[in-house]
């Protein structure tokens, strides 16, 4: 079993975390889903969803770590303790997935230096300012850079997660899940309807 772990923090964007989880949850034969937060316990999303988490102290290494975004990231990128915990956790993981401004957290923790990445186009100027060392892609539904995936805003995380599964398990598997959840999958990572301009 591969651990699919989601790192939550107060004020996370609900769908950034839970959209991908629903998709991954369709492969229980491969993935075991965990929710973590630095201290464990209930963590409330930006929209009032209170989700139970385990403490990062119990983190299962070697799996997939997904980091959601949300307005709360504005504080977290200047929180050295959180960034250190994220860095340690990410280093124990095989794949990193950053959704929306979760990719800016990955950048601030040092995972995206001189690498291509993307983020929500509504927060793009901020991402560039916080992490100028990243090759931010202005036109990308999501970006794959070796073991690190980053997506555009919120629902792009679902498209990316299906793309991640397609890379690991084949297109047929990803398409079958999209059909099961009747999702009109935007499967071309380079076609970005919300692009600011060409790269």
């Amino acid at each position: 079993m591969i651990a699919f772990s989601v790192l939550l923090f107060p004020g996370f964007e609900t769908l950034d975390a839970v959209g991908p989880v629903d998709i991954i949850g369709h492969l229980p034969q491969f993935y075991e889903i965990h929710f973590y937060s630095p201290g464990g316990g209930l963590v409330k999303s930006a929209h009032g969803v209170e989700v139970l988490t385990e403490s990062l102290a119990a983190y299962q290494p070697g799996g997939v770590l997904l980091v959601p975004g949300g307005l709360a990231t504005r504080q977290l990128v200047v929180d050295p303790l959180f960034l250190q915990q994220l860095k340690k956790t990410g280093q124990k993981s095989m794949y990193l997935l950053g959704v929306c401004t979760g990719s800016v957290l990955l950048a601030a923790a040092g995972f995206l230096n001189n690498k291509k990445a993307t983020s929500n186009k509504n927060a793009f100027a901020w991402a560039q300012q916080i992490a100028p060392q990243v090759k931010w892609q202005k036109k990308a539904r999501w970006v794959k850079e070796k073991q690190i995936y980053t997506s555009s805003g919120v629902t792009a995380g679902m498209d990316m997660t299906l793309g991640f599964l397609a890379d690991l398990h084949g297109m047929a598997q990803a398409e079958a899940i999209a059909r099961a959840i009747e999702y009109i999958w935007h499967a071309d990572k380079d076609d970005d309807p919300f692009a600011l301009e060409e790269n």
Copy 2:
């Protein structure tokens, strides 16, 4: 403030509930989001997300009630106590939203007699068998029947929720939220890419 209430039960399909919540959560000036379950406390989704709920005894009447689906509905449609609780709760609500097989729960509780509705196309034969008194629509991303909205599978619930907001607050508001979450909104409720056949 309008109460936007989601009725959870063990094994609910995660995204049926949480996709719409993220969307509604973008209008905190109008909607206050609540999660309920018959007994209150933590309720675990089909994909292991444990969400804190209030007891239905504390239900705030006069708002919107959303009912998600999931494989767990197979037991709930033959659970008279649950259906009675759903009926009482629905009768106190101004709008009813059924996502995926959540619409079959609304049907089993008696809200859809001789009314048009839809559900996940993968579960359609079952829906027809459980509730033959409903005018099930084989081709519909979602259906609006006065104060009752029902959607096709899982992610169709997000399209429906944006449609619901468009009906109440105008297209511009719904489109602004879709842009904020970079969602490629399938805004035509009658165009169903997963339709079994014409109605």
